[in-house]
């Protein structure tokens, strides 16, 4: 969805100004997160920390979707495949190898890259709709296989995953300690966000934007779009897998549900509601929808209908999403001063 970079009619503000509004909103997100942490610590309730951490973890998955959808122009409907993969591999590593966070992440990164490569080779040859459906199908098929595999716990999944202790030289903290883990994941997401934003200012990242805008012309400029799309796909798979790797550390278990379409779908919803192509929009979207689900969920089990309806309204009336509208509005506000 290319509308993010299309700002408005005349006069045309420069693209840099819009990006600085997005940057400001990114800082705002993390500032608000820290504020939230302070409040939650004061309230002393672990539940909020865990919920917020979960929203960040799924936010990471949403970031991977935004890289593909918002930038490269590919709609993935099965990204949960890599998320769940990362979760399972992480759980297995923590349980059977060693309860070490860096080890789990390293194993997930390597295996995720391989799996992403295989998935990418299958899916990238397809364009548009076909890509979406192949990605959907891949996730359906693999999740069904996992669901039926006794060695992986079948429908119950894997439980009893130990929470590793992270030592950073001077200090060490237990990931089972909710506030510490929240801060760790927050830092991780901040780093990821910074990385992604920086990536889009490299020739590689700009190629992705170009592919989304006019793939056809690129071959005539001397580039092979296929390679870039594959690289983007693998990178997105890695991001999704690494995010998933954090899940068992938070909850102590993994289950096939993590690969189900629900998760893929929610990731896409997070991105669209938050603001396609803005990256930080994915995090905002995830936070918003996690909060909404929690609130609605306390009244009824049917939060899906509320979220679904919100999404439908968003697609029809606010296709640019939260950040997609806020950023230009902020920019206009600033340019008036």
């Amino acid at each position: 969805m290319a509308e993010v970079l299309t700002i408005g009619r005349a006069p045309t503000p420069s693209v840099d100004a819009k990006r600085s509004a997005v940057r400001w909103l990114s800082y705002a997100f993390f500032a608000m997160a820290l504020l939230f942490a302070a409040v939650a610590a004061a309230l002393g309730d672990v539940f909020f920390f865990r919920l917020a951490t979960e929203s960040l973890i799924f936010g990471g998955l949403a970031l991977s979707v935004d890289l593909l959808l918002g930038r490269t122009g590919l709609l993935p409907l099965g990204q949960a495949l890599f998320f769940g993969f990362g979760a399972y591999v992480s759980a297995l590593t923590l349980k059977h190898l060693a309860p070490s966070l860096p080890l789990a992440l390293a194993v997930v990164l390597v295996s995720g890259t391989l799996v992403g490569l295989v998935g990418g080779l299958i899916a990238i040859r397809a364009k548009g709709v076909y890509f979406a459906l192949i990605s959907f199908g891949l996730a359906q098929v693999v999740s069904k296989i996992v669901f039926n595999t006794r060695e992986l716990g079948a429908s119950d999944g894997l439980i009893g995953v130990p929470a590793p202790v992270v030592s950073l030289g001077v200090a060490s903290f237990d990931t089972a300690h909710a506030p510490s883990f929240f801060l760790l994941v927050l830092a991780g997401m901040a780093a990821l966000l910074a990385l992604l934003m920086r990536l889009m200012d490299t020739p590689f990242g700009r190629q992705l934007d170009a592919i989304r805008t006019n793939e056809h012309r690129l071959a005539f400029l001397g580039f092979d779009p296929w390679r870039y799309k594959l690289a983007a796909f693998v990178l997105a798979a890695d991001i999704a897998a690494l995010s998933g790797a954090l899940y068992p550390m938070l909850r102590g278990f993994v289950s096939p549900e993590l690969m189900f379409f629900q998760v893929s779908g929610n990731a896409v919803i997070n991105v669209v509601v938050g603001g396609t192509g803005t990256f930080v929009g994915a995090l905002y979207g995830s936070a918003l929808l996690t909060a909404l689900k929690s609130v609605v969920g306390s009244f009824t089990a049917h939060h899906a209908i509320v979220i679904g309806a919100l999404f439908v309204v968003s697609v029809i009336f606010f296709p640019k999403g939260l950040v997609g509208y806020l950023a230009p509005a902020l920019e206009r506000l600033w340019s008036r001063r």
Partner: protein
């Protein structure tokens, strides 16, 4: 050998055919919606499920199955028409139409599935088979309901083909699909045609749901499971190709049916999916797909 053919293979083939016609109906709806509206209907599975539930509800208030079979497609057509006019047409004119309609129908699917859960509960329900017993042919017993299913399916498929290719209505619809503005200037009521086409596709999904309800059980996520095979059929057959939907639909269900003799059902979906991927690699537009679509 002959025995194996007669007592093992043949029943599977017949089985496959009976499911096959229902799959073809579903795929036809999907491919018509895509071919004529350029819309990927991610909610198609949910309309299939609603069809089954609608039949269930009608039977629940005392109507015989035959009434449910006749009324449900009409109900579904109304639902489809309303959906298209109220929701889909709103994003139709956007430059990002393909992505937006995909996302929109995907959102609609989520909402519809949850509505089904709310209204009917999450537990599987059953519809009694309206025709019981079996007929003996060639030394085998074929369940009557399945024979009936094949007959109804075949008739409807033939009717669809006739309408699309041999009637003025069909010509009008194809004209509108080909060139909206030209069709409009020729007096074709384009908005109505679009909504009507969507309604028609949805009705076919609903009909499929009713027909298969007595065979499979009825549960809120039945649509999502079933839509993958429908999409596979449409993609393999070629998006927008009616001939493709019929041939691919019948072939794939045969593959599924016969392969169930040697592999466990868990591998059935992966097999179909694998075939879809291979076909896409060899012929990116499907077997009978036309360039310029998808």
């Amino acid at each position: 050998m002959l025995d194996w053919l007669q007592f093992v293979l043949a029943p599977q083939v017949v089985n496959g055919l009976s499911i096959g016609v229902a799959v073809v109906l579903m795929a036809l709806g999907l491919t018509i919606i895509f071919g004529l509206l350029d819309v990927i209907n991610m909610a198609h599975g949910e309309f299939y499920a609603i069809g089954a539930y609608a039949a269930l509800a009608l039977i629940g208030v005392g109507l015989p199955f035959w009434w449910a079979l006749a009324l449900t497609p009409l109900l579904m057509a109304a639902v489809g028409y309303a959906t298209e006019r109220a929701l889909i047409q709103r994003v139709f004119h956007s430059k990002d139409r393909h992505t937006l309609t995909l996302l929109l129908t995907f959102g609609i699917a989520i909402v519809l599935e949850d509505i089904l859960k709310i209204v009917f509960g999450a537990n599987p329900l059953r519809i009694e088979q309206p025709i019981t017993g079996a007929t003996e042919m060639f030394g085998l017993f074929f369940p009557n309901y399945r024979l009936f299913l094949m007959a109804v399916g075949a008739v409807v498929i033939a009717a669809v083909w006739l309408v699309v290719f041999r009637t003025r209505l069909g010509a009008m619809v194809r004209a509108a699909a080909f060139d909206r503005h030209m069709a409009a200037s020729l007096g074709v009521p384009v908005s109505v045609v679009y909504a009507g086409t969507f309604a028609f596709g949805v009705a076919l999904a609903g009909l499929s749901g009713v027909l298969l309800a007595p065979i499979y059980s009825v549960f809120p996520t039945m649509g999502r499971d079933f839509v993958l095979i429908a999409f596979s059929v449409v993609i393999i057959g070629g998006m927008g190709s009616i001939k493709g939907a019929v041939i691919a639909g019948l072939l794939l269900t045969q593959v599924q049916s016969i392969s169930s003799l040697v592999i466990s059902p868990v591998w059935s979906d992966p097999l179909l999916f694998g075939i879809m991927v291979l076909v896409l690699m060899w012929r990116p537009h499907g077997l009978f797909g036309r360039l310029g679509h998808g």
